[in-house]
Symmetry: C2
Subunit: 136 residues, 2 copies
């Protein structure tokens, strides 16, 4: 819950009403919102909040590792507040719904050294695609 606000305060964040509202919007529901959706929900509580502030705040939350940025389709990025539990994503190709999933196995271990081309590989994202129950 507001562990998040505590952690942010502990990291020296100046706590403004705008930042509080953005953090609460993300913390409140486990959905994957776009920046504009976050802005819309934040504006319900704080009508004068600006888009720029929402973008700034989201960017800060991402660099603090509190939120994950998900670029699924080349359109708007989505923001995933479930950053402290490793997971992957399952996306409906039709309606765009995103679910967090937990596959077995370790995809990083599946990439042999001779397939790394001198890269220092540090991260893997797995995106499953298909049709959800409603769209199928």
């Amino acid at each position: 819950m507001s562990d998040l606000l505590e952690r942010l305060r502990g990291r020296g964040w100046r706590m403004t009403s705008q930042r509080r509202v953005v953090a609460e919007v993300l913390d409140g529901e486990h959905v994957h919102l776009t920046a504009d959706e976050v802005h819309a929900r934040a504006a319900q509580r704080l009508p004068e909040i600006s888009r720029a502030t929402v973008y700034n705040t989201l960017g800060e939350l991402v660099s603090l590792g509190e939120v994950i940025e998900v670029a699924t389709d080349g359109r708007a990025k989505r923001y995933d507040p479930n950053a402290h539990h490793p997971h992957q994503h399952l996306i409906c190709s039709n309606c765009g719904t995103i679910r967090d999933v937990h596959p077995a196995g370790d995809p990083l271990a599946d990439l042999p050294v001779e397939e790394r081309f001198g890269f220092t590989v540090s991260q893997v994202e797995v995106t499953y695609r298909g049709l959800c129950g409603v769209c199928a």
Copy 2:
């Protein structure tokens, strides 16, 4: 090579000079170009080709399954002509270089039924990230 052009003709494509040039640009080099890069290279051969045509043609190639769209970072999509050989991508977080890689294992099989939430899962993308030899 121009297997691609043959396949497209066989699918009833009206063969225009614009489409030929776009197909040849993609077919020529195994790199991952953005739409604007494709446009630039196409324009070297056919100066009057328009952006809209390049976007249209790329979209058609994608829906025909001849080219894969790679949305890596929420910026410009990249187009991968290596659609007939299954592979995944390794991306440098610094310079954005993309390499095709071939991990072992089958990530689709790693997603248990109880983690599919009624979806009909048909596709998996695995994206490895890290620093390439030059940027490290």
